[in-house]
Structures are given as structure tokens and as C-alpha cells.
């Protein structure tokens, strides 16, 4: 039983990271109808930037303070992501307005490749650590309840908290700030939004910036957990099923979906895996999503699409 | 050719629309619409924009499923049918906002209208041996007759995207004709045309009706043209039928005048 809960817990942790990536997807899709395949590449790019600057800053400034280095690195990485977002809007999206979804999808595939190449060219292609001083040693909870208690990584908990904070922040941003409201307006109806004078291009830049930040946070957590390396880009592929499950246009969908998938993967891996030779979490999520597609194409929380003649 | 007016015979009811009601998420597009269409006639459905004309058409050829009512064609009545079945029954249509296959040439666009008649299977087509080749030629010939009929020989091989609007409308009509339909549904065939194009189009519509005896149901909001070419007219307003009869009768119908002609241009 304890083991089950442990697995469940680690599942939730992994799921939370998926949620973060998925969140990036959903934000961009809501605002600009673009299915941003490059989200994963952005995560990698951001993580690389952060990891490297966290190394370089002490080297350049001589200030060895960990907090300072990380904060500075975080900010710089953030700025870089803004730049990336701006460039993407300028050089790509702007020229692909009212193209079919698939075209845009393929374009973001191109962006993915470009970012991966660029990131590794600038920041190098080895494995880097992000050390934001998270306590590594595990702790045991509920010793009383279960024999031996439940082993939980502190950093997971902290990561979870950060993620939660981010989500909270975002929802605040959407609910309270005028930009946020504009974003929601755009998401609901492009034409209408434009007609009341909301500049789509600017909105897109903002959304991509936000997505960039989300990517950064995800990258940071992921990086500090498992180190920053090329494979990080593939996290996007892992997060795809999440949004299918949650619905392309629903933020809560992304989060819930992420958790479901995370847990689903771990449980299936642990309880089904052995019978079929293991390693099934890679596709399990997808098959789950696929089955879902057939019965509820719009996902858990997404709204139904009616196309008229 | 006015003094020698072709005499034409209108047959009995071929299509009967009974109490059709359709709504999108609570919004009523059509409420309890009934009318009939006689063989060989030109039947118009008119009404201001948003009167539910297009929805009516979409119900007839299976794009939408009405919540209530049924449509009977040649006696057999159906509530819902797939577009395919409708097509097989010999009902073709054109579209208000062009729905041509942009990536294909004029000939190929019209050829698609023949697909229902193509028998040879994938493998024959892949090898293009014997029957497949002969079939292609047979149907190409048929299509060429339509091209000749619509006088677009000069544009045969041009990608439809490059044609002026008026000609694209003709290709759209051609694609429908290629199905050898018994009933032809025209969705605002003259929308956005200049006067000359409108006259051409009405000529083609009448010719189709004369030459092939095709029954024609057309939607228009441009009264002028409709009154000239149609035998009977149904008037819709806000999804309700407010008038039905010959052009003259409709012209004199009070409700129509107030609802439609009043605001017509």
C-alpha cells in the first residue's frame, strides 16, 4: 500500500512537470491557435541558458553567491526567452496568419529544430546541472501510518510548490491584469478581439513570452532534478497526450491531464510493465490519449468544435 | 430569342419537404418549414440574409440533420441521410462561397463530380490498365461536354484558383452537373457577380433546365433575377416560411412585401 502511494506520489511529481509543459502549449494555442511543437525545445533552450549563466556569472563577476548567480541567471534566461518569443512572432507567425493548423504545426516543428541547434551551439551540448540549492535528501512521511513510511523527495515537494505558485500567478495574471483580460478575449474570439482594438500581434508576443517563462520554470525544475541535456527537448512529446486528454484550450485541463498522465505512466509502468517487458510509459500515455480521442475529441475540458458550411 | 419561347412541361412533385425544424444550440435556424418541388421546374427559395436559406439546403443534402420533420424524395422519405446517399439519389449542389478544390485544374474539379460513376478499383487505377484507362477517357469525354456547355474551353487546364470569380462559379456548377443530377440545388449562384455575369449565369441555369430537364432549387436574395427565371418561389424570413407561389403571387403577398421587398435594394 505504501509502495502504491509512493508510486502515485512520484507519478504526480512527473505529472506536474508535464502539466507545466502542457500549460505552455495551451496558453499559446488559446491565444494564437498555434499548436506549438517547439514548447519542448523552448524548455531545453531556457534550461540551457539558465544552467550556463548560473556557471558563467560567478566566473565573470567573481561573486560566488549561489542565490545571486541563480537569480541573475534566471532573469537573463527569462530575457532571452522574451527575445526568442519576439523573434518567433516577428519572423514566423506574422507571415503565417490564417494558415491551416497543420501548416503552423509544421512551422513550429521547424522552430523546434532551429532552437535545438541554436541552443546547443551557444550553450554547448554536454549535460549541465542546475543547482538552485534544493535539498536532495529524501524524507519519510506517515511513518506511523505505513510500515517504513513513505519515501518522498523534498525537492519534488518544493518543485510542486513552485509549479503551484506559477499556476496561481498565471491565473492571477489572467484574471486581474488588463493584458490578461485581453488575452482571454483573444482566446475566446479573434475577430471580436481585433474589432474592439486588441492588437493581435502584441498579444501573441506576450503569450509566447509567458510560454517562455513557463518553459523556463519547467526547465529549471527538470534540470535541477535530472540535469539539463538534449533529451529535455523530447519532454514536449511526452506532454502532448496531456493536452489531448485535458483539452487543447483548457488550463485546468492541462494541469489535471498532466497529473493523470503522470500517475498513469508510473502506475502502468509498475503494475503493467513487468508483464510486457517494461518501458511502456512512453506509449501508454499516447494510447490513453488516443482512446480518449475516439470518444471525446475535444478532451476533458475543451469545448466542442462545430464547423459550419 | 424572346418571340419563340420554348414551351416546357412541369411534372409532378419530386421532392417534398415536411415540417423541417433545425436549431444550433438553442438558436432556431428553421422552424416548421414545408414546401414541395415539382419535376423539371425552377424553384426558388428567397429571403433576406440569415433567413435560413442555406441551412435549408444543408438539411436537404445531408450536411445538417434537422431536429424535426422529414424530406421525401421520389416518394421515399428520410429524416437523415449521409451526403453520400443524397448524392447517390441524384441531388447535387453548388456553394454560396466558392467551395472548389483549389489545388486542381478545371477539368479535374469537374471530374470529381464523376467519381460516383467510377467503378475500377485501386489496383486497376494504380496500373492504369484496360478498364481504368477506358473509364478515365469515358468520363473525361463526359466532362468535356460540360466544359463545352459552360463555354470554359479556354480555361480547361488552368488551376481553378487562377480563374476570375464568375468563371469559378461556372466550374462549381459544372462539378454539380457532372453528377447528372435529377435535382440541382444552387446556393446563391449569382452572389457577388456583376450584371453581365449574372445574365450569363441565369442563361446557363435556364439552359440546364431546358437541355437536361434538371429540376432546379435555387437560393437567392437578389429578387430581380429570381423572379425572371423561377417558376415558383418560397419566401423565408427568420427561419419561417412567409410566402409560397408563383413570382407574381409572391410579389403581391403583403407579408413578403413588408418583410422583404420593403428592405430590398
Amino acid at each position: 500500500m505504501g509502495f502504491f502511494i509512493e508510486t502515485l506520489f512520484s507519478g504526480l511529481m512527473a505529472g506536474m512537470l508535464y502539466s507545466l509543459v502542457a500549460l505552455g502549449f495551451v496558453l499559446i494555442f488559446k491565444a494564437s491557435g498555434v499548436f506549438n511543437f517547439a514548447q519542448g525545445a523552448m524548455v531545453l533552450f531556457a534550461a540551457l541558458a539558465m544552467a550556463r549563466f548560473a556557471e558563467w556569472i560567478p566566473a565573470w563577476t567573481g561573486i560566488t553567491n549561489l542565490i545571486f548567480a541563480n537569480v541573475a541567471a534566471f532573469l537573463i534566461a527569462g530575457l532571452i526567452m522574451f527575445a526568442v518569443a519576439w523573434l518567433i512572432e516577428r519572423l514566423v507567425l506574422r507571415h503565417l496568419v490564417n494558415q491551416e493548423a497543420t501548416t503552423l504545426l509544421m512551422a513550429t516543428l521547424g522552430i523546434t529544430y532551429f532552437l535545438e541547434g541554436l541552443g546547443q551551439t551557444i550553450f554547448g551540448s554536454d549535460i549541465y546541472q542546475i543547482n538552485i540549492g534544493m535539498p536532495k535528501e529524501p524524507i519519510f512521511l506517515f511513518d506511523g501510518v505505513f510500515p517504513g513510511g513513505i519515501l518522498v523527495n523534498q525537492e519534488d515537494v518544493i518543485a510542486a510548490l513552485i509549479a503551484a505558485a506559477l499556476v496561481a500567478l498565471l491565473s492571477l495574471f489572467f484574471q486581474k491584469t488588463s493584458t490578461g483580460r485581453a488575452l482571454r478575449a483573444v482566446a475566446d474570439d479573434h475577430q471580436a478581439a481585433q474589432s474592439i482594438g486588441i492588437p493581435l500581434n502584441r498579444i501573441w508576443v506576450i503569450v509566447w513570452c509567458v510560454a517562455g517563462v513557463v518553459a523556463l520554470v519547467a526547465g529549471m525544475i527538470w534540470g535541477s532534478k535530472l540535469g539539463v541535456q538534449f533529451t529535455l527537448a523530447t519532454v514536449a512529446l511526452r506532454a502532448l497526450p496531456v493536452i489531448i486528454l485535458g483539452g487543447l484550450t483548457s488550463v485546468p485541463g492541462a494541469i489535471v491531464g498532466g497529473l493523470i498522465i503522470g500517475v498513469g505512466e508510473k502506475l502502468s509502468e509498475v503494475y503493467l510493465g513487468p508483464f510486457v517487458g517494461g518501458g511502456i510509459e512512453i506509449w501508454f500515455a499516447y494510447v490513453l490519449a488516443l482512446v480518449f480521442l475516439l470518444f471525446r475529441p475535444q478532451g476533458l475540458f475543451g469545448e466542442k468544435i462545430i464547423d459550419r458550411v | 430569342m424572346s418571340e419563340i419561347k420554348p414551351l416546357k412541361k412541369i411534372g409532378d412533385v419530386i421532392m417534398d419537404v415536411r415540417n423541417i425544424s433545425l436549431s444550433f444550440g438553442g438558436v432556431n435556424a428553421l422552424t416548421d418549414i414545408s414546401f414541395d418541388v415539382r419535376e423539371h421546374e425552377v424553384r426558388a427559395i428567397i429571403g433576406p440574409n440569415g433567413a435560413g436559406k442555406s441551412s435549408m439546403l444543408n438539411c436537404i443534402n445531408g450536411v445538417y440533420t434537422p431536429q424535426q420533420g422529414e424530406i421525401s424524395f421520389r416518394g421515399q422519405s428520410f429524416k437523415h441521410m449521409s451526403s453520400r446517399q443524397v448524392a447517390e439519389m441524384g441531388i447535387a449542389r453548388t456553394f454560396q462561397n466558392l467551395a472548389l478544390f483549389k489545388g486542381m485544374s478545371v477539368v479535374d474539379n469537374i471530374m470529381t463530380g464523376r467519381n460516383l460513376h467510377i467503378k475500377s478499383n485501386l489496383f486497376l487505377q494504380a496500373l492504369r490498365i484496360g478498364p481504368a484507362q477506358r473509364e478515365e477517357e469515358k468520363h473525361r469525354e463526359f466532362v468535356e461536354h460540360i466544359i463545352d456547355f459552360l463555354e470554359i474551353q479556354a480555361h480547361r487546364k488552368t488551376p481553378v484558383g487562377q480563374l476570375p470569380y464568375g468563371l469559378q462559379k461556372r466550374v462549381d456548377l459544372g462539378r454539380a452537373l457532372a453528377m447528372e443530377p435529377q435535382v440541382l440545388l444552387l446556393d446563391e449562384p449569382m452572389a457577388g457577380m456583376n450584371l453581365e455575369e449574372k445574365q450569363d449565369m441565369s442563361r446557363f441555369i435556364l439552359d440546364v433546365n431546358d437541355e437536361f430537364g434538371t429540376t432546379i432549387v435555387l437560393i437567392e436574395h437578389d429578387m430581380g433575377v429570381v423572379m425572371d427565371i423561377s417558376d415558383r418561389v418560397v419566401v423565408l424570413d427568420y427561419g419561417k416560411k412567409i410566402g409560397d407561389g408563383t413570382p407574381r403571387e409572391v410579389r403581391e403577398n403583403e407579408e413578403v412585401i413588408s418583410a422583404y421587398l420593403g428592405i430590398s435594394h
Binding site: - | 430569342m1 419563340i4 420554348p6 414551351l7 416546357k8 477539368v107 473525361r140 469525354e141 468535356e144 461536354h145 466544359i147 463545352d148 456547355f149 463555354e151 474551353q153 479556354a154 480547361r156 439552359d207 431546358d210 437541355e211
Partner: protein, 648 residues
């Protein structure tokens, strides 16, 4: 060996039944009709017509554009000994009345609804017109007019008849004799009713053959029939010579696809009036305008070369090695592709006729390797009187008299022709016949001209227009206004010219500049101007025009006969000559006399030696209102040259 058209049909059908006789682009492909099929079709139509009552000597009208069935109907009529009368498909209904009644026609073949409507419209006026057969049933299914019938039905009926009467077709054809009347063509006289020009099988076929042997035409030629069949030219090329040589005639799909069809067919034997060639050239130049600078440079460079060596090459003169190589390169880069896009890569022989053709225009086609030539002839002469040999084509002559033709120039300069191809008579019009046909068989062409040093015929003008200079330096010299005017009009800057000189001591001209050409010219040398009148009076423009005139004078000086017609004074008119003001005919020919007295002051000014003249004229505007324009026009002198006696 003498024969008739139907006999030639049988000959081809027996010798080469499978070979193609006619192609028609219909339903996207070139539907081919072999000589065998054609014979059958003709036999069936003949059967049908015979049943319907068409008899020897009767006339039958065919009206429509080039369609195999139209030509088949003509053959069928001839097989029965009846006389087909092709009418212009674009003529108004009223214009058809006279021919139909004149030859009291009871049978008509109409291409389509348009033509049928035309005939039905005039039926009250031509009650005898009992039978109308149409080719294209589009829109005609519901007509229930007495005697209106689809050609298919006629063919079907004829098939039955032909099956019952095995030998009927052959026997009828044998009865027809070479000197029987074969066809009748109505020429629109400028005044009065049109005249029906009657031709026999002999006259038409003899000329067809003469032309064919002159250009060594074979049965492999391809011809595109796109001009009205009612016009003798088209009829010779796509009917008489078609049957004489047994080559292939191609009918375009529709009027707006002619250029495409031309490119597809790639005729080997081509004919067009100058305006067609002009249209093609302009389109070429316009399309080249949008080409990249580099490409334009290359194009013009090679065209320059072509202008230099092309004509000599065509005339079979030897070229320098360098030029040969350059021209070959040019043929690769420009001439070849150009010919291909014009649809003329396969052209062996191309003719232009009808009116004078500009030398530049003429040379353009020859220089890119198209064997364009001129010929002289008319409806009355069954076209072929003079033809230009391949290596001696000139813009200003119309060629050598060909086999069977005798030519002499009458005292008044009129050209008289004696040839086996002359008309038999004007139908039911002996008086008109007598006017043109002398008892000893000379035909009066009413063209003035002469045979030049090389034996080529040179057309100057209509006889009635040719005048004489009276008094002054070259008293009594011949003056040919049209000739002078045309020479000037070949300059792009000059739109219209009116030349005076008959009965006067010198030649003076009034000129209309071409607004576009001169406008561009002015802009290129940034010369500001406010509208036509202003531009017309610019000294620079006068300078420009003067140069043109003096070039012409130089030319004329070289020409013994016309040296006296050199232009000594000119002015540029302040307004464009306009048909609405009665200054031009509806066919845009200048009305000299009318203009002369409308602009009396100007004429006086010209001859009175003034250097400028005030003039005030009434003009009609588009909206019908009348207004006055007035201007003071300068009058300039132009250099004339001493006549150069033609050496030898």
C-alpha cells in the same frame, strides 16, 4: 485534267480513305474526319438535301464559322449540282436578305442558334427560305419552326435514302461538269447592293492548283481555318486548295481559343491579313516589355541582328560566317522560341494580302525565319494573280504573275488581268459584268499599278483616286494619294494622312499624329505638352514629322513613276480625324473631298505658301453636343529630291 470539287473528294476518299481530311477541336481534342468518313458524311447530307428537294442549279446558303459540317454541306450541295453561297457569320440579318432573295434561296445551313435566329428573323422577307438546317443544337431543341431541322436528322434521313439508291451519289457527281457553276461569293459593294461573283469549278480549281504548284504544296500541309468561310481567301485556302491538294484543314475550338489552337496545330501553310500580323507583333512587344532587363537586352540585340541579316538569309543570299553563327545562336535563344509561341515553327509558306503591309512589320516576320509573302488577287480573280517567290518577297510589291495569268497596264494605269480564274459573271447583273469584263476576256481590277524592273507587280492605288500633277516642276506626273498616305502611315508616329495634289502643282499633306506613339516620344525626351492640339503644334513634333516625310520623299524619288508625288508642304492637324465628324468612313478610310472643303482655309494655306493658318472647326463630342475648336497651325516645307532614274 479538269475536274470538280465532288470528284476530287471521291478521288481522295478512294486513294487515301484513312488519311485525315479535317480536324476540329471539340471537347478538348482534335476530332479527326478522314476522307473516307467525309465522303460518307457528304453522301448522306446530299441524300437528305436531294430528298428535301434541292435540285441542280439551285442555290443554298451556308452561314457560320469554320466547321467540318459546313464544308461538308457545301460539298454535298455541289455534288447535287447546286450552288453553295457562303455568307459572313457576323453580318446583320438585314444584310442576308438581298443575297437570299437575289438567288432565291430555299435551303440554308446555319451553324448555331445565333445564325438560326438571324435567318428566322428575316423569314417574312424571304418566304421561299423553306429549309434551315443547324449544326449545333444548343438552345434550339425547343424551337418548333416549320422546316427547321438539325443536321443530324438530315444526315439520318440521307443515310436511309442513300442506302435505297446505291449509285445516286456517284451519278449526280458525274453529271456535274467542270465548267458548271461551283460557288457564289457576295462582295459588299461600297455603293448599292452586293454583287454575287459566280465561279465555276474550273476557275476556282485552276487557280487553286496554280497557287499550289507555285509553292509546291503537298497533301501533308496543315492549315488552320479561322477566317470567315464567306471570304474568298479563306474559301480558297480551306476549300479549293484543300480539295486540290488533299491536305488537312483544322478548325479551332472557339473564337477565343484561336491562339491556343494555332499553337497546338502549328500550320505549315498560313494566311492572314496584315492586321492579324500586326496584332501578333504588338502582343509580342507588349509581353516583352514585362521581361527582365537582361532578357529584354538579349531580345533586342538578337532582333537587331535579325533585322540586319534575317531578310538576306530568307532570300537565300550567303551570310558571313560570324553572322551565320550569331543567327544560329539567335535562332536558339529567340527566333525559335518566338516562332513556337506564335504557333509558326512549322510554317513553310505564309501569305498576307488585302491591304498594304508596313515594311517593318513584313520584315519582322521574315527576319525571324517565317517565310511571309504577299499575293495579289480578288474575289473576281479567285485570288491567285500574282505571288511572291520565296526568295524575292518585298513589302512594296505583290509578286510575279503566276502560271496562266496575263497582265497589262492600261493607259490610265489600271491593271488588267487575263486568267483562267476569272469570274464567270456577276449573278443576274450583266451590266456590272460588262463593266469589268471586256469581250476579249480582260478583267478590269480597278487597281492602278505597274510592273517594276524585276517584273514584280506594284500596286499604287485605286484607279479612281490616281490623279495627275498639273503645272509646276513636274507637270503631268502621276499622283497616287493612297500610296503616299500609306507610306507615311507606316511610321508609328503618323496615324492618319490626307494627301492632295490632283490637278495642283505640288503635293501637300495634312497629318494626324498618333497620340500614344508621339506622346511616349515626347515624354522620353521630357517635352511637356497639354493635350493633343498642343502636342501637335510643337516645333519638335514638326521636326519629327518632317524627317518621316523626307524619308518618304527619298523613297519616292527612287521611283520613276511616282517621283512627282513627293511631298513639298505639310501641316499637322489640331484634331484627330473622326468618323463621327464625317472625316473618316466607318471603316476608317479618309474622305479626302469632304476634308478638303471642311478645312478649305488649311488647303488654301498649304498651297498659298503661308507659314501658318488660323482654323476654326465644329466637333461633335461623345455626348452628341457640338463645340468649336480653333487653333493656328504652322505649315512647314519639306525637302524633295531629284528623281533618280532607275539604272537598267
Amino acid at each position: 485534267m479538269q475536274t470538280t470539287f465532288p470528284r476530287l473528294l471521291l478521288k481522295h476518299a478512294t486513294e487515301r480513305p484513312r488519311a485525315a481530311a479535317m480536324r476540329e477541336k471539340e471537347f478538348g481534342i482534335w476530332q479527326t474526319l478522314s476522307w473516307g468518313d467525309l465522303r460518307e458524311l457528304v453522301a448522306d447530307i446530299a441524300g437528305g438535301l436531294h430528298q428535301a428537294g434541292l435540285r441542280r442549279g439551285q442555290h443554298m446558303v451556308v452561314v457560320g464559322s469554320n466547321r467540318p459540317r459546313l464544308y461538308a454541306t457545301m460539298l454535298a450541295a455541289q455534288s447535287l449540282g447546286a450552288v453553295p453561297i457562303p455568307l459572313y457569320q457576323d453580318s446583320a440579318a438585314a444584310e442576308c436578305v438581298f443575297p437570299i432573295n437575289n438567288a432565291d434561296v430555299c435551303f440554308a445551313f446555319a451553324e448555331d442558334q445565333e445564325q438560326v435566329d438571324k435567318l428566322l428573323e428575316i423569314r417574312e422577307l424571304c418566304p421561299q427560305l423553306a429549309h434551315i438546317y443547324f449544326d449545333d443544337p444548343r438552345g434550339l431543341r425547343k424551337y418548333d419552326e416549320p422546316g427547321l431541322m438539325a443536321i443530324e436528322e438530315l444526315v439520318a434521313a440521307g443515310k436511309v435514302y442513300a442506302r435505297q439508291h446505291e449509285s445516286f451519289f456517284k451519278t449526280h457527281i458525274e453529271q456535274a461538269q467542270p465548267d458548271d457553276v461551283a460557288a457564289m461569293f457576295f462582295t459588299s459593294g461600297t455603293t448599292g447592293n452586293p454583287k454575287g461573283v459566280v465561279h465555276t469549278h474550273d476557275s476556282l480549281l485552276d487557280r487553286a492548283r496554280a497557287g499550289a504548284s507555285f509553292d509546291k504544296l503537298t497533301h501533308e500541309e496543315e492549315v488552320l481555318a479561322y477566317l470567315p468561310p464567306a471570304w474568298i481567301g479563306q474559301n480558297i485556302f480551306s476549300y479549293a486548295q484543300w480539295l486540290a491538294c488533299g491536305y488537312i484543314v483544322n478548325c479551332p475550338e472557339s473564337s477565343e481559343t484561336v491562339t491556343i489552337d494555332l499553337k497546338e496545330v502549328g500550320p505549315t501553310y498560313y494566311f492572314a491579313p496584315p492586321r492579324v500580323f500586326e496584332g501578333l507583333l504588338t502582343s509580342v512587344m507588349i509581353r516583352m516589355e514585362d521581361a527582365s532587363a537582361l532578357k529584354r537586352k538579349m531580345f533586342h540585340a538578337f532582333m537587331e541582328l535579325a533585322r540586319r541579316v534575317g531578310p538576306d538569309r530568307m532570300d537565300g543570299k550567303p551570310l558571313g560566317l560570324a553572322d551565320k553563327l550569331l543567327y544560329t545562336l539567335g535562332d536558339w535563344m529567340v527566333y525559335g522560341p518566338l516562332r513556337n509561341n506564335l504557333g509558326m515553327s512549322r510554317v513553310r509558306v505564309a501569305y498576307t494580302a488585302g491591304e498594304a503591309i508596313g515594311p517593318d512589320l513584313f520584315q519582322f516576320y521574315r527576319s525571324i525565319g517565317i517565310n511571309l509573302k504577299q499575293l495579289y488577287g480578288s474575289t473576281e480573280t479567285a485570288v491567285f494573280v500574282c505571288l511572291q517567290p520565296d526568295n524575292a518577297a518585298r513589302a512594296d510589291t505583290v509578286g510575279l504573275p503566276i502560271a496562266g495569268v496575263e497582265i497589262k497596264v492600261a493607259a490610265n494605269g489600271e491593271i488588267l488581268v487575263k486568267s483562267p480564274g476569272l469570274l464567270k459573271e456577276y449573278f443576274k447583273n450583266p451590266q456590272a459584268t460588262a463593266e469589268v469584263l471586256t469581250p476579249d476576256g480582260w478583267y478590269h481590277t480597278s487597281d492602278a499599278g505597274f510592273i517594276d524592273a524585276h517584273g514584280h507587280l506594284k500596286i499604287i492605288d485605286r484607279v479612281k483616286d490616281v490623279g495627275r500633277i498639273k503645272g509646276g516642276a513636274n507637270d503631268g506626273a502621276m499622283f497616287a494619294p493612297k500610296y503616299v498616305e500609306n507610306k507615311l502611315k507606316f511610321f508609328p508616329f503618323i496615324k492618319e494622312v490626307v494627301a492632295y495634289g490632283d490637278g495642283r502643282e505640288k503635293v501637300c499633306v495634312m497629318i494626324n499624329i498618333d497620340m500614344n506613339a508621339v506622346g511616349n516620344w515626347a515624354e522620353r525626351r521630357n517635352l511637356p505638352y497639354a493635350g493633343y492640339t498642343d502636342l501637335a503644334q510643337k516645333p519638335e513634333v514638326y521636326q519629327l514629322i518632317q524627317e518621316c516625310i523626307e524619308k518618304v520623299n527619298a523613297d519616292l524619288a527612287a521611283d520613276e513613276l511616282l517621283a512627282g508625288s513627293q511631298i513639298s508642304r505639310f501641316l499637322v492637324l489640331h484634331k484627330e480625324l473622326d468618323a463621327d465628324d464625317g472625316e473618316l468612313t466607318r471603316t476608317n478610310k479618309v474622305r479626302r473631298a469632304f476634308i478638303a472643303d471642311k478645312y478649305q482655309p488649311l488647303v488654301d494655306g498649304l498651297y498659298g505658301g503661308k507659314t501658318e493658318q488660323y482654323i476654326e472647326t465644329v466637333v461633335k463630342f461623345e455626348d452628341g453636343r457640338a463645340g468649336k475648336v480653333s487653333a493656328t497651325l504652322r505649315i512647314d516645307d519639306s525637302k524633295t529630291f531629284a528623281p533618280i532614274k532607275a539604272a537598267a
